[in-house]
């Protein structure tokens, strides 16, 4: 793909995701009680910052779109603003710290999945462990097996154990390993591959290349699936990341921190965009 075509693809996907995030944000603003966009005031050097004003009625569609557009634009030029939850630091700084924790959980889950896909026998993988159940199974084991105060205690190594639970839960590992291995096995059984083998030519490189797009889709599906799981495992192991932040926003029904919600949605959208653009096909072929 030429650089110009790649640039157009990135711009198109980014525009689609920004539009999707704005749509979700406006939907929440319009439909949910307790959302007050006037609790934020625009300050030229900072972006949106908490103000003393309170709302009597829910914001409209136009007000929601305007808020989202201004906040997104401000974030792009380094004025992300300050959220009500933590007004002492910028929203970008807050999301960066929490995003780093989530990235740690996500990265550890990926490492474990990579090891499972490479070495684990298929039948050994759990297929029926829902996220909270897997999380608490790991939690209970950690509680029993690690001495309190050690480096592997769940208080200190929460990111590690959350990553392990994320990798094992919802059958992601099993579906991924079955999918990746099954796709290659099916291709190996095709007549052309058997002909190659009979002629003494190793069919594996061609099998890898032919199945790369399909396997890349499976890997992307698993990666995106893991993102949703962050909401649960971070809460179980007390990791204050993006998933935990979103969970708090959803559960707290008294008043919604609109700027923080927009920021969290933007972060998740950026990760989905990154997963979509990663050259996984090339890596797999």
């Amino acid at each position: 793909m030429s650089p110009a075509a790649w640039g157009r693809r990135v711009a198109g996907r980014a525009a689609l995701l920004v539009g999707f995030v704005t749509l979700l944000f406006v939907l929440v603003c319009v439909a949910r009680d307790g959302v007050c966009l006037r609790a934020y005031a625009w300050q030229p050097g900072v972006g949106y910052a908490p103000s003393a004003e309170r709302c009597a009625e829910a914001p409209g569609v136009v007000e929601g779109i305007g808020f989202a557009a201004r906040a997104t634009g401000g974030a792009l030029i380094g004025r992300s603003g300050r959220s009500r939850e933590d007004a002492t630091r910028s929203l970008a700084g807050l999301l960066w710290r929490r995003g780093a924790r989530s990235a740690g959980v996500f990265g550890i889950a990926l490492l474990i999945l990579f090891g499972i896909a490479r070495f684990a026998p298929r039948r050994a993988l759990p297929g029926g462990l829902p996220l909270p159940v897997a999380g608490f199974a790991v939690f209970a084991l950690v509680l029993r097996l690690t001495p309190p105060g050690s480096a592997l205690d769940y208080d200190r190594a929460g990111i590690l154990w959350a990553g392990l639970a994320l990798a094992l839960a919802d059958g992601v590992a099993r579906v991924l390993v079955d999918g990746l291995r099954g796709t290659r096995e099916r291709e190996r059984r095709r007549p052309w591959a058997e002909h190659h083998a009979l002629l003494g030519v190793d069919p594996e490189p061609t099998v890898a290349e032919v199945t790369a797009p399909q396997r890349a889709l499976q890997v992307r599906g698993a990666l995106v699936g893991l993102l949703g799981g962050l909401v649960v495992v971070e809460a179980i192991f007390g990791v204050n990341g993006l998933g935990e932040t979103l969970k708090d926003l959803v559960v707290d029904r008294a008043g919604l921190d609109a700027l923080l919600l927009l920021g969290v949605l933007g972060c998740f959208a950026a990760v989905v965009l990154l997963i979509d653009l990663l050259p996984i096909e090339r890596a797999l072929s």
């Binding site: 979700l24 939907l27 929440v28 439909a31 949910r32 009680d33 759990p126 297929g127 029926g128 462990l129 829902p130 996220l131 909270p132 159940v133 608490f136 199974a137 939690f139 209970a140 509680l143 029993r144 919802d170 059958g171 099993r174 579906v175 079955d178 797009p213 889709l217 992307r220 599906g221 995106v224 699936g225 993102l227 949703g228 799981g229 909401v231 649960v232 809460a235 979103l246 969970k247 926003l249 959803v250 559960v251 919604l256 919600l261 949605l265 998740f268 989905v272 979509d276």
Partner: protein
């Protein structure tokens, strides 16, 4: 339906006969009256398992029914025009990507919009995300049947549209992929429902049921860490360990069994 799926539905059915409310002051080992014992909150554990299963079996069956209706409508449309008039557009990749957004994340956002969390809305969101994947494969099969003039042959034999759809397509040519997709959809709804019940607290999600497997394990995990057992009373930590192992076994056997049906 697979044996694991039938066992799950039967387990959920038990919830109609057994209550999962505290009727004892503390935990107890299994007896004839309580075959799986009494949990740390004083509830019959078989009742807890049954009510926890009912929490996701109902929404799961609603989702599978929606899938069946969508496939029946698609089959009816194809049967109405059994002869192929245009090549099928290749849309598998596009549909798959559309179905790819994080399932749990979107369900959580749907809950943000609602005043009160609803398990049925969660099931509908998961179904809406999964339907394109299932319909894409089933549509490809129907297209192949048109290509092989199977549908035209059935119509030429004078069979009614409903008989073709119900008996020959849903119960015949499409039965294998339909069973696979139904199992996968059921498992996805169950996983989402259990996670959702845990996030909101079981009673917030479904006030009538009030019990979820995810929530129960959270309670037992808290009891696991409690120490101080004396020989003359039942140790809550030991009973909690038994119930944790039982719950994990049921999850792996039943939900894992349905998941295996989806992979075959």
């Amino acid at each position: 339906m697979s044996r694991a799926g039938a066992a799950l539905v039967a387990l959920a059915g038990i919830s109609l006969a057994i209550r999962a409310v505290p009727d004892q002051p503390g935990p107890a080992w299994p007896t004839v009256a309580h075959p799986l014992g009494v949990d740390v909150l004083g509830r019959d554990f078989l009742g807890v398992l049954a009510h926890g299963a009912a929490d996701f079996v109902g929404p799961g069956l609603v989702a599978v029914t929606l899938l069946l209706i969508a496939v029946a409508a698609l089959s009816h449309r194809r049967t109405a025009r059994p002869v192929l008039d245009a090549p099928r557009p290749t849309s598998g990749t596009r549909w798959f990507l559309l179905a790819a957004p994080p399932r749990l994340l979107l369900v959580m956002l749907a809950m943000l919009v609602l005043d009160a969390p609803s398990p049925l809305v969660a099931a509908v969101v998961v179904t809406a995300l999964y339907l394109p994947v299932a319909l894409d494969e089933l549509d490809a099969r129907l297209h192949a049947l048109q290509e092989q003039q199977v549908l035209a042959g059935l119509v030429a034999h004078g069979l009614s549209s409903s008989r073709i759809v119900l008996r020959h397509l849903l119960g015949g040519h499409l039965a294998e992929p339909l069973r696979r997709h139904a199992a996968m959809l059921f498992v996805q709804v169950a996983f989402t429902q259990i996670a959702l019940a845990w996030v909101f607290g079981a009673s917030a999600v479904s006030p009538g049921l009030g019990v979820s497997w995810g929530m129960e394990l959270k309670r037992y995990a808290a009891a696991l860490s409690s120490g101080g057992c004396t020989p003359d009373v039942v140790c809550p930590g030991s009973v909690a360990l038994l119930h944790t192992v039982l719950l994990l076994t049921v999850c792996l056997a039943l939900l894992g069994g349905v998941a295996r049906t989806a992979e075959r």
